[in-house]
Amino acid sequence: MMSDPVKPEPILVVDDLVKHFPAGEGRVVHAVDGISLELAAGETLSLVGESGCGKSTLGKTIMRLYPPTSGSVRIRGQEMANVSRRAMRPLRRDLQMVFQDPFASLNPRITVGRAIEEPLIVHGLGNGRERRERVAWLLQKVGLPADAAGRHPHEFSGGQRQRIGIARALALNPKVIICDEPVSALDVSVRAQVLNLLADLKAEFGLAYLFISHDLSVVEYVSDRVAVMYLGKIVEIATRDQLWSRPLHPYTRALLDAAPIPDPLRRRARRPRLEGEIPSPLDPPSGCRFRTRCPLAIARCTQEMPHLLAAESGHQVACHRAFEDGIALPPTATPAAAPEGPALRALS
């Protein structure tokens, strides 16, 4: 990926990051297999993919919750993938995380105020009074009452707890927050509230989000750019509008097809559904990892691993067939296709 000299240095750069887990008997789980991406200040980049594709592992490896196998992660130009834990600590002030499960991510024995204060204590910021003031300010920023500080996590609902988790992530004034499925454990009714809170905070503090999700409707709502992951690799990365209007990778198209459209008038053209299961990351297929489920797979796909190549400005795809003539990929949703099935009959 060539960086334009006019463009400012991205705030977070992930370069060929690999995370393999040993699985016994010399076998290896290829959870994250050579991922490169860049995140600009104030941008939201979403990572989407099926469960098991390695998106959460990628987030946690960037966060150094797992030691990376190889590769590089730079935050504001500073390497953090292979530095000591001591050297890592100051870098963490720029990079924080919101976790998936708001019930598991807060220590049940620690008050909410203390949980939000902990990052400040660990980094030696402020005295007791200043820290308490900042906790109160953070609580107000995430829309929780000031008296929440003295209470325990179990006294709060899922949405409120996720607000607490967000306040904790904000405490150090980070530049980048990795949001690991921040709303997937929440009731649908409170999802929008939390997403709006994240959007407000992004605007107010100029935060950049790496937003990990499997929910395309959420991703479409929050993202500036989207990276699609399959079996530890990025198969397509594009701006949100490019991806939704012109998905190039057959996997992306299958994902978009699988997402329900809540409008019976916008029926889709029928296309073969994605079949089978995601292959085991213990033994990923040769060549293109998607070839075992790909409707367009040819012999070349078994031999040669496709690389991410630019299809248009800001839009890269890793597919041998995406650039062939004659396989012009049509837009996914065909508005008002032929009337068919009971849905339309019921309308007339």
């Binding site: 834990r85 963490r92 499960d101 991510s105 049940p108 024995r109 620690i110 902990e118 980094h123 988790g165």
Partner: protein
Amino acid sequence: MRAFRDFCRRFSRNRAALAGIAILLLVFVMAVSAGRLFPDDPWDMIALPFVWPGQDREIWLGSDMLGRDLAAGLFHGAKVSLMIGFVATLMAVVTGTTIGALAGYYRGPVDDLLMRFTELFQTIPQFIFAIVVVAILSPSVANVTIAIALVSWPSVARLVRGEFLALREREFVQASIAIGMGDLRIILTQILPNALGPIIVTGSLMVATAILTEAGLAFLGLGDPNIMSWGTIIGGGRDALRSAWYITAIPGFAILLTVLALNLVGEGLNDALNPRLKNR
């Protein structure tokens, strides 16, 4: 503090556990008042031998075959039993928690090393091991305590390791790493408070085992020869078991009650601290 009040409410609902607390308090009062009620050495031969309980108002629990006051022995013995039981348990819990926490938190080679070391202790039957240790170290109160601690800590280490292995995977621990918290701080302030429940329960049951072990050692003559303990009295009364069974029965009953009480309290703590049964 709300959590503590909840705990007290749940604990006090358990009648058996309250009875256990009452018995333990009684034993504790016996231990504390021993020096005041029986200022003389319990080894002193103050009466005729084989005085049955109730025969003589002066020595209401009777005397043993050497004419020593059984009541004095019982009260002083309470002091020894409780002290050895609690001190040995405290030592075992501190050692076991430290080793288990390090093994469970760091996993990998640290875990392997510490657990193989722990298993080394577990392969020897506890009581036999305690006998060997006391025989080597010479019998004294301190050495008996050390021996009991030495044979008790491995089970704590295994328990704490298991708790740590499970808790360290929880997201709140990852969140602590994410904010840059150091290992020691995570172990002490994040994981340990969540593992305390099972440790306390095991500890309370371990006091009972320690008291039994001490009595067993004293019965075999491996207790401190200068200290009157319940096991010592039983060991002495063994020879006269058929003619004067009360000599063994009285301290034996005291051991039974104390151990029962500790088990009841342990059960009560388990029910009150175990979150899975919270809504029972």
